[in-house]
Symmetry: C2
Subunit: 469 residues, 2 copies
Amino acid sequence: MTPPAQPVLTADDPVVLDLVAALPPGRVVVDADVVRSLSRDQAAGAPAGEPVAVVRARSTDEVRRVVETCLRHRTPVVARGAGTGLSGGANAVDGCVVLSLESMAEILAIDPLERLAVVQPGVVNDDLRAAVAEHGLWYPPDPASSPWSTIGGNVATNAGGVCCVKYGVTREYVLELEVVTGSADVVRIGRRTAKGVAGYDLVGLLVGSEGTLGIVTEITVRLRNLPSPPITVAGFFSSLVAAGTAVRAVGEAGITPSALELMDRYCLRAVDDWKQMGLTDAGDVLVLARVDDAEPTGTALADAIVEHFRASGATWAERSTDPDEGDALFAARRLAYPALERLGPVITEDVCVPKQHVPEMLARIEALAAQHDVKIANIAHAGDGNLHPLIIGPSDEDAELWPRIHAAFDGILAAALALGGTITGEHGVGLLKRGGLVDELSPAVMELHRGIKAAMDPAGILNPGKVFQ
Amino acid sequence: MTPPAQPVLTADDPVVLDLVAALPPGRVVVDADVVRSLSRDQAAGAPAGEPVAVVRARSTDEVRRVVETCLRHRTPVVARGAGTGLSGGANAVDGCVVLSLESMAEILAIDPLERLAVVQPGVVNDDLRAAVAEHGLWYPPDPASSPWSTIGGNVATNAGGVCCVKYGVTREYVLELEVVTGSADVVRIGRRTAKGVAGYDLVGLLVGSEGTLGIVTEITVRLRNLPSPPITVAGFFSSLVAAGTAVRAVGEAGITPSALELMDRYCLRAVDDWKQMGLTDAGDVLVLARVDDAEPTGTALADAIVEHFRASGATWAERSTDPDEGDALFAARRLAYPALERLGPVITEDVCVPKQHVPEMLARIEALAAQHDVKIANIAHAGDGNLHPLIIGPSDEDAELWPRIHAAFDGILAAALALGGTITGEHGVGLLKRGGLVDELSPAVMELHRGIKAAMDPAGILNPGKVFQ
């Protein structure tokens, strides 16, 4: 890890001068500190290049003008929302223009009958959630970053979250998009009707494309009714493998909880050390489930989950009778990541394996940690088989540790693929997993990716070098 | 409408000779009657060309060899399943090879824990449904053609059906595909894990691409648990608009039934004339709803739907207390299409509009029928806003009627677009709606389609001239 170099910012750069001429005053920023602060996302260990400027766009037409100008100069455009990504997808590349969409943060419409909302890309996930709740509606995708991350960024990465085990990921909720393509065309793709098969599914193609196929300037999302108040079940286990077995047992029983999360002893210890919640007194591995079915089904399912936890060897398992208690447990789940970050840079893994292999994958992660002598904490959307092994980096510059971390990282990817899984369940490829992508997809599929990229972005100016090269 | 010309079939055609050499005995068929019978789908009024041969493939490698051979000769390949399509998407083009996938009809795996099944493309929808039901599982997409249509065809058209109002369309259930591309590469796209964002969503791109981007040779579908036994609600209304208002009222109340179907007086009359079910004695327009929520929620929602029907002006509305009665009503719904076909060729429309515009769209269809003096019956997946106006063609060759039918057809597409809808909710573009597609999508979006087509099928041999030209 080398410290980031001082960005070279020249207000007399030809593309910068053209951007200033094409946009209203104040949109183009070359201040070194601002530019540096917007040059990377939250991926520890991912390189970031040096932009020539940041543009804070305020409208679709401004985005179009940015792309048009950059296209003329063959200047890369790296779009970003809140920068909460975890794979380097929003990191600057050398000589690029960073296009911040955070100022396009208006909720344009909420339609309770059609159960949809129309938003600009900079709307924060939790803000949308709060706005639609006033109409009794719900936008389900709930990445851990929801208090900060934007819907545009969620679309770019096809963000998941805790509720996806029952309600699916961002892709399932995007109906229509307004997009600026790499040719600086403003296009509308998708539709607002419940069904529609007129032409190819370009919306699906854009969702999760990490800014490489187009820049999303407006999003129409599908909403659901607010679910019933959740009932929480907690179970403590003495080993990761026992916890994984409990998760599998719930799946085998055909139960679909609205959350099924796992935290290991490292996470519990880190939260306790920070917040003194007493979690480690209760056990080594915590599995949290939620059900939100209408009563009396909800309680019956919750009780069934308790029984499956106990039959899988839980040292303690109960259905919470107090909503506040359930909320506190899920708050601990959300605190795990920042608690671990107090210990050093956190390299976040994001593999996803078939549910039947969750115990085996957890065992392999433990073995890799021992083999490479690195600390790996585990939080997981376990019900989806989506595991987030968190490798704790050195708090100081310990040059020796990084090669071991990279070896463990690569080992986790290889293990997931060997078990029929994927290198990334919800965080995206960005920079960190370009090697893993080539291991997951065949050369012919990679070639299809390049062809599609060329169709949407003929000059290759949109977030070049991300996802694949 | 001109009668189909006699196909020109020459077993000494160079591509046919090469196919015979490349494939096991019996795969290549040039018999004129067989070839003619496999040269079109069920779209009335769509032209069909003359193939040089039919190939009945039995494996992925045979499909690959067909594409490889045709690629060498630049011969078009038109893949087909059961040929139940309604837009001409599987119609032959002159000089093509028709590639039938009906013999690839094996269910390769059913995995109750992962809730997925792996099937060959020729598996019939209802056969898959029956096989997974033995494991307590359910494959939801239920096009009216489900007793005959194949999963491969369902994937190619992104088929919908009755249950989609609650459970979504085929797209939502396809996890992984094996595909032979236009370059004769066999690729696997998608994944079997619950989540995954490694690369672009090529599965979504293939689903609904009507054989123009690749030939699907294996499909992994997601399954659900079998739902609770349904409760049926029936309501009769004195006008289409009143029925449309009832449908909207259910949506406004935030109720998601598992079916919400509409049949107008033409349909009821046709079914009565055929099967003497006495439907027309009960009223003019029938709206059928189903709920499959666990009790007691199911009965409460059914009763609420009855109240909404009555408040919207139903002349009669009741919750069925007898499952057989409910099944009989839905059987009548399924009989509507064949009953109308007894009156003449049926030109099936498939527009989808926002739910709020269902009453207005139904009113415009009535006005278009009067204006052009054509008979239009309406069945509709009304809860989705997906309407199937059925234009009844002449039982004999009434040359005068066809221009009026085409004018009404075009008028319905234009009305749907004017109301913010789409030209096709679930049947696809095929041949019949290529003009409508250009009206729905912008030139820039059409250009993206051409670029993607070129990436997946560089030589343009896969179902050329379908969807767009």
